[in-house]
């Protein structure tokens, strides 16, 4: 190609990506930069900003509530990521077997993922309602496992457990979907070769299925970590007393003593963690 053609092509390329770059810059880059900027200021309600240097950061790192919310986030991530991956894998293996009405079952499994958060949250709150909820009814009146009715969502410790369960239930279908897609593409003759090589069902799972799924499992785990590190609405709507990092940030920024500078500092730290995870995803997982 002549240099004129190359130049023209480059110009066309720039024109084509310009709108996307503009939108991303406006909606993603600018807020991030502004957030970093804010984290160095004490922001007054009337809008005046006082430069405080790293005060927001040192204050944050000295705040026990911050560490508490990190702990809660870690438990939340461990529980939800493990739960969705394991349950998704189990469902995918089950739905890869031949049986009647399999397509119907495959579709039904996806329902929690598609249901609007707010409506299913109400459902879950009813389930765990201390007075009328089916959970307490079953535990106390039917199975007699407990003498007293527990307010599962009211108590932050047990609420964390409920929130984790809810997330597993709501989000395992995406793990299931990704894993099933890969499972269906595993060549049958690999299983046959393994059977001839003396592997029973467990051996075939371990030596054929798992290695074939390795990449997808890693993708699921990493994506779930990234998504759930930022998960706000599910937690906040179901049990606002479970202070994961995003909830803690929200309280810092918009409730009680409003501290937007402090909240910005939290976000910046979280952004760095996320960038690290995304780097891992792009550099390692995508290259397996």
């Amino acid at each position: 190609m002549s240099s004129v053609l190359i130049k023209n092509e480059a110009r066309l390329g720039l024109k084509l990506v310009a709108p996307a770059v503009g939108i991303i810059g406006l909606l993603v880059i600018y807020p991030i930069l502004f957030n970093v900027y804010l984290s160095f200021f004490d922001v007054q309600l009337n809008g005046t900003k006082i430069f405080v240097g790293f005060d927001n950061y040192s204050e944050l790192l000295g705040n026990p509530r911050y560490y508490n919310s990190i702990g809660i986030s870690v438990v939340y991530l461990l529980g939800t990521v493990t739960g969705t991956t394991v349950l998704g894998l189990a469902a995918a293996i089950l739905m890869n077997q031949e049986f009647h009405f399999r397509n119907l079952a495959r579709g039904l499994i996806l329902l929690p993922y598609f249901a609007p958060v707010i409506s299913v949250v109400f459902g879950w709150q009813f389930i765990f309602d201390p007075v009328n909820g089916i959970y307490n009814h079953v535990m106390v009146d039917v199975l007699h496992l407990s003498d007293t009715r527990e307010n599962m969502i009211g108590d932050p410790d047990s609420a964390l457990f409920v929130v984790i369960l809810f997330d597993i239930w709501k989000h395992f279908p995406i793990a299931y979907l990704l894993l099933l897609a890969k499972l269906q593409s595993v060549p049958k003759d690999l299983y046959e070769a393994a059977a001839i090589d003396g592997q029973n069902a467990w051996g075939r799972f371990w030596h054929v299925t798992l290695p074939e799924l390795k990449f997808v499992i890693a993708t699921v785990v990493l994506l779930r970590i990234i998504w759930n590190l930022n998960r706000f609405e599910d937690v906040f709507l179901l049990a606002p007393n479970v202070e994961t990092l995003p909830i803690f940030t929200y309280y810092q920024a918009f409730s009680g003593v409003v501290d937007q500078g402090g909240a910005a500092a939290i976000s910046v730290i979280q952004l760095l963690v996320l960038v690290g995870l995304i780097w891992l995803y792009v550099r390692k997982v995508l290259k397996w």
Binding site: P187, L190, A193, A194, A195, G198, G203, P211
Partner: protein, 369 residues
């Protein structure tokens, strides 16, 4: 090593029969090739021997054991798959020894087996590679190596060469023949390629629609096909089949009259009950009359008009017509023939076969080996 016996083996999916009462005995150290068109049940038969399909009816014996209800790994078989089925996350070395390890072989045995196999298949320099980093031919060799590393009673091959290009296929075919001979292994080999069937098999089993059409040595199959199906399936170009009237001790078609008494193993009395027969002549058995000296068992087809000449180098294929029916002859480079030319073709009447027009079966014991 062991023999394999299939007795009245049937396989059906629901009401759809795939293999219909198949009987076959593979002797210890014998290489048997199952050949037939797609859907004839040859792969299903192999998979029933392997234990990858259950047997609807009948018995499969390996050695002196009925294996119907044994899982694949208890049958002591090894199998080479069409798509290789190598474990993608394992190195070549791990792929080869995977089954050996599982069978509880000790480290010394494993090491010496691995050395043997990789030496024989020239895999030494690839042992640490993953299957994804190998070419098709190399993967095929690893799949062979994995099977050979096992001291199996029976080796099963499911169209192992069908994914290779023509040149490599030829090469691997020779390799397989050499290895089979060297190990004296009992093997069942499935293919749709008649060349593989002819060149590899001690015996060839030709299958169609779930039944065995003929079992025999490659030369028996070629020279004395039991039916028109076998006659046309084996051999390329396919055998010419021409309908002829039986009249006054002669076979009459498109103006030619062949004396029945001159056809091998056939007398006029044998064909008394027939008014029509199918005459089968392989393209290979035609000769250019200019290059033959007249003899008693040669029959000459005069005034043959050549419709098409396909030069293949040493061979050339001639297309012409017997009446309305197209026929082919294979001559060699000594014949200088062009389109539209009128020539004479001779055929050795010992090689002419006769088939029943209705049953399509071979008549009498015509044709000599």
């Amino acid at each position: 090593m062991s023999s394999v016996i299939l007795r009245n083996v049937c396989k059906s999916y629901g009401n759809l029969p795939i293999v219909k009462s198949l009987n076959l005995e593979v002797k210890d150290g014998e290489f048997v090739v199952l050949v037939g068109p797609s859907g004839c049940g040859k792969s299903t038969t192999l998979r029933m021997v392997a234990g990858l399909e259950d047997i609807t009816q009948g018995d499969v014996h390996i050695g002196d054991q009925v294996v119907n209800d044994l899982p694949p790994h208890k049958r002591n078989i090894a199998m080479v798959f069409q798509n290789y089925a190598l474990y993608p996350h394992m190195s070549v070395r791990e792929n080869i020894v995977f089954g050996l390890k599982k069978s509880g072989a000790d480290a010394t045995t494993i090491a010496s087996k691995l050395a043997d196999v990789s030496e024989m298949l020239k895999l030494n320099e690839y042992l640490d590679r993953k299957p994804a980093d190998l070419s098709g031919g190399q993967r095929q060799r690893v799949a062979m190596g994995r099977a050979l590393a096992r001291d199996a009673d029976v080796y099963l091959f499911d169209e192992p060469l069908s994914n290779l290009d023509a040149k490599l296929r030829h090469h691997m075919r020779t390799e397989i023949a050499r290895i089979q001979h060297q190990y004296n292994m009992t093997a069942i080999y499935v293919t749709h390629d008649q060349v593989e069937a002819m060149t590899l098999g001690d015996r060839v089993v030709v299958m169609r629609d779930g039944i065995v059409e003929q079992v025999g040595t490659p030369m028996e199959i070629y020279l004395q096909p039991s039916s028109t199906f076998v006659a046309t399936f084996i051999g390329s170009p396919a055998m010419n089949l021409i309908e002829a009237q039986v009249e006054d001790g002669e076979l009459v078609f498109s103006g030619y009259r062949i004396p029945i008494s001159k056809i091998a193993n056939t007398s006029e009395a044998d064909l008394q009950v027939y008014r029509k027969v199918l005459v089968g002549i392989r393209p290979d058995f035609f000769e250019d009359s200019q290059l033959t000296s007249p003899s008693d068992h040669l029959f000459e087809f005069g005034s043959v008009k050549v419709d098409l000449v396909e030069n293949l180098g040493f061979d050339k294929e001639i297309t012409f017509k017997f009446g309305q029916e197209e026929a082919k002859a294979r001559l060699d480079l000594r014949s200088h023939i062009v389109r539209e030319q009128v020539i004479s073709l001779s055929v050795d009447l010992n090689r002419v076969l006769l088939f029943d027009t209705s049953s399509q079966g071979m008549l009498l014991n015509a044709g000599s080996l």
